[in-house]
Amino acid sequence: MKRNPHRTQNIAFFFLLLATLLIVVPVGLIVVIIIQKGFPAINWQFLSDMPRQGMRAGGIFPAIVGTIYLVAGAIIFALPIGLLAAIYLSEYSRDNPLNRIIKLAIVNLAGVPSVVYGLFGLALFVIFFKFGASILSGSLTLGIMILPIVITTSREALESVPQSFREVSLSLGASKWQTIRHIVLPNAIPGILTGTILGLGRAAGETAPILFTVAAFYLPQLPKSIFDQAMALPYHLYVISTQVPNVDEKIRYGTAFVLLALVLFMNLMAIIIRTKFRKKKKW
């Protein structure tokens, strides 16, 4: 029997569409269910109050604040180091086996399970550096976890700036660093921000790295310094879902909703900044 190219095309189209839907539908369902069950719990008291009655009532304010501190700390630590490393790798390092191994290692670090980062943070920051379970330890651990993402995406952004711009700049007598500073970096900023967005989202949502390094089970007060423990949304969610009996479903889904909204809000901010930079881009 002769093959009908139209039919094969239709079959291929069907499977491609099916695969796409298989991804989209669960994501959509998660968002819909969390909004549906979580949104009714949201009110001013829930967002601004301390948890009370063993977390069965009251709000989640300390967990929100803790997560914001942790994410900010992680970015303050990871963005400068990641960016400098990316500049070195893309602009200065020569193409030799050692540097190829370094690049491969960084890409692979992005795939290391987060609980491993948690244990690493416990050993290095909490115990060895004696920071204890604190915002500092947690931020540094999260920072190390998102470093590979920041480095890899920043490197790609730097490398996507056309080589011809570099040649023009150098041919006009600019030094290599001037070329990077004035031509390469400004044109790579949108891509670098994309990496930061991805890192942000991941840092906000992870439970395992903060489990051993910062997260407090129940701490109805705000942290006073970076050496204090703090509550954080993902861990709080875990606690009220599995460790504390008889927590109202509304509170659980409300917490999930806040976490989701927080991550989406951060991403949105970064996307707006990125779009502004893209508009400034003149090529």
Partner: protein, 248 residues
């Protein structure tokens, strides 16, 4: 007095030899045209003169290139590139405004005086015959200019650094005849103040603007002589074949 003195220059990219024992001189205030088919080493030769080949990690060389009597490997590379400017094959404005494109080299050299910058930018644009067309839109993106205007902007950008030598790497390859004529006019005018090395795929262009013409083939310098001689009585029959369009 010679501007560039090149002695037995060999260049390799990995194991491929791009230039084979090239010996020649470039004289002050001349337009030296370099012609030859693709892959003949013309552009590699040109990028030797401002050490742009150094960017390629596979680049290796031996022999000597002297600029004003000094070995180019021993002079400060940023200084060399300010004295030996380059205009590339395609119009390549930097992603900056028209003004900032022209002022870029000066700024990088540490000139911050606004008045001085404005003066230099205006002069450079006038020399490149672009001033009248852009004087009211200096703040606009350089990418809003037409291709021919962009290439003249690139010439102005090179002039603003006040070089001694300007290297043109097939500067008209993407331009229409009218834009080409404007750029050729500019080159002839610029010869009074600068030494010009022009790599071109267009044999007629070499005949129109060059004082002397060099013919490259497979990395070798086949012939170098006054342009009239190259085009009327070439000594080598490979040169003759190329300018008559028998190959290339």
């Amino acid at each position: 007095m010679v501007t560039f003195d090149i002695k037995k220059l060999n260049v390799w990219f990995d194991s491929t030899q791009a230039l084979k024992s090239v010996t020649m001189q470039i004289l002050p205030n001349e337009i030296l045209s370099i012609i030859g088919p693709s892959n003949s080493g013309k552009t590699t030769f040109l990028r030797m003169l401002n050490r742009l080949n150094d960017l390629n990690t596979r680049f290796k060389m031996n022999g000597d290139v002297l600029f004003d009597g000094q070995d180019i490997r021993k002079v400060d590379v940023e200084l060399l590139r300010r004295k030996v400017g380059m205009v590339f094959a395609l119009p390549l404005p930097l992603p900056l405004s028209i003004f900032d494109n022209v002022a870029y080299g000066m700024k990088m050299a540490g000139v911050n005086n606004r008045k001085r910058l404005a003066q230099v930018v205006e002069n450079a644009l006038k020399q490149a015959y672009l001033w009248e067309e852009v004087k009211d839109r200096m703040g606009e993106s350089a990418f809003k200019l037409s291709g021919g205007q962009q290439q003249r902007l690139c010439i102005a950008r090179t002039l603003a650094v006040e070089p001694e030598v300007i290297l043109f790497d097939e500067p008209c390859s993407g331009l229409d005849p009218i834009s080409t004529a404007k750029i050729e006019d500019a080159m002839v005018k610029l010869k009074e103040k600068y030494t010009i090395v022009l790599v071109t795929n267009n044999v007629k262009q070499a005949a129109r603007v060059g004082d002397r013409t060099a013919f490259f083939l497979n990395g070798e310098l086949i012939e170098l002589d006054k342009t009239e001689k190259i085009f009327t009585v070439p000594q080598d029959n490979r040169t003759d074949g190329y300018i008559r369009g028998k190959f290339g």
